[in-house]
Amino acid sequence: MKKKARKLTPGIVVRRIILWGFAVWCLFPIYWLVNMSLKEAVDAASRPPTFVFVPTLVNYAEVIQDPRVAGFLTNSLIIALAATFFGLLIGAPAAYVLARHRFRGDGKIAFWILATRFTPPIAMLIPFFVIFYNLGLLGTHTGLVIAHVGINLAMIVWILRGFFQDLPRDLEEAAFIDGAGRFESFRKVILPLALPGIAAVGILTFLSSWNEFLFSMVLGGNNVMTVPVGIYAYIGFEQIEWGKLSAAATLMLAPVLVFIILFQRQLVRGLTLGAVK
């Protein structure tokens, strides 16, 4: 069907209009955010809003020089990287065992892992808040890293398990014949082969932590503000700061956009929790 050169029937034209129309709808807010970030204060507050104007990088210059914004970016980066590292370190071995071994209670573990995906965040947030309050972990990087690992660990294990299951079983067989023990075969044979999957899950974890708002806001407080929390804190002055805020938000989106372009397939698989491969 694909090979045959088809004429443009009205049906195909309508279909394309709908599909690309939806694409425009998906893109429009992102376009508008970038558009606002390139406007001077006068243009940003113009009535009606302008589509055509002289673009300026003033907002970006101001935002980059703002030490608070640099602080937000650093916090976000530290927390997302640490949460990703620890999440993978602890999640990968568990995912491998769940992928390859049948043992008493393995079904229960899988169920609990999925259950955490379904728990309302507020049910986790309140106890976290109380526990952190008593341990003095509120407003610390450590606290936020712990919380973000907790939020993501189940997802990490679940998706990595799918990736490990995709690896052929003869691999361990071959490693055994070559005289490797179980740990050795995991470390030297399985892990390198699963690297693309691990990278994909790593990116997903990074994005999830980078984008997370509720836990960061409540547990980080005014002490450790990540970018989303920082942006929210300044929305109050929106009339004056639209351009600057848009620039900050655009900067925050930059790594996300890069990841989407580079790892589209893996992201789809991850965001749909392995339902789409």
Binding site: P93, P121, I231, I235, F259
Partner: protein, 305 residues
Amino acid sequence: MGKRPAGGSGRKASWRRERGHFILLMLTPAIVLLTGLILVPFVVGFGLSFTDYILSLPPARFAGFDNYMTLLSTPEFWGSLRVTLIFTVCSVVLQTAIGLGLAILLHEETRGVPILRAIYLLPMAVTPIAAVFTFRMMFNPSLGVFNHILMGMGLPPQDWLGTGNMALLSLILVDTWQHAPFILLIIAGGLASLPGDPFEAAKIDGATPWQTFRLVTLPLLKPFLAIALLFRSIDAFKTFDIIYVLTSGGPGTSTTTLNMYAYKQAIEFVSLGYGSSVAIVMLIIITIVTQLFLRRSRLLTVAES
């Protein structure tokens, strides 16, 4: 030294003996962490819901079912349950209709599909706060681009977030922008994995496109639709970012969902005991819905295959 049990060769036996040890060691850190970060908080939250704990007003006292009794007799609770149901059902129905329709169109499309898929992925991957902030600018009654576009088309401008019904509608709109692609991508993935034979058969039998869709496509898609619907419903039920940034539950309590209600009680008013009871009720609702869903469709097995 007993390293060689009767039977199998030395290495094979040690490989087998290593098994329990291996599983234990590989699994323990994750289990400890999941216990510490999920089970313990859950137990703490459950316990809190039976106390009158208010932060910085210790000591908390055991209050039995007081919180739950208060909850069930508070109009705000029932109001927020109603808002949650309206928001969830409207969002999910709208997103399923859009997602399913577009997935079928996308499946038939031959040109530019990778680009379209990448674009469709954006709303669900992009930082929610950044996107929601943009919507807040666009919803602005006098400076926002939405009213500008409406007036350009000769339609009356709207007070998007200003009145109760309109605010709820705007939230559903933003949620649909963000999540219709989720359903679209799952269904598109499902369509790509369907066998071709039933469609051939339908063609030979001379089925109309609508008949093919209703009698062949839809039944085959059922497991994928079930996953998409379950995940989406539960996530819509838990929505926070969109509502918090756009309306904070207002005007009045017109967009206060259960989640917002729990947040306000627990975090803003630091009534952690009472807030916990709201959260536990949410958890109970989700558990019941999930169980009903799992029983009706063999979801876990599909998710695994």
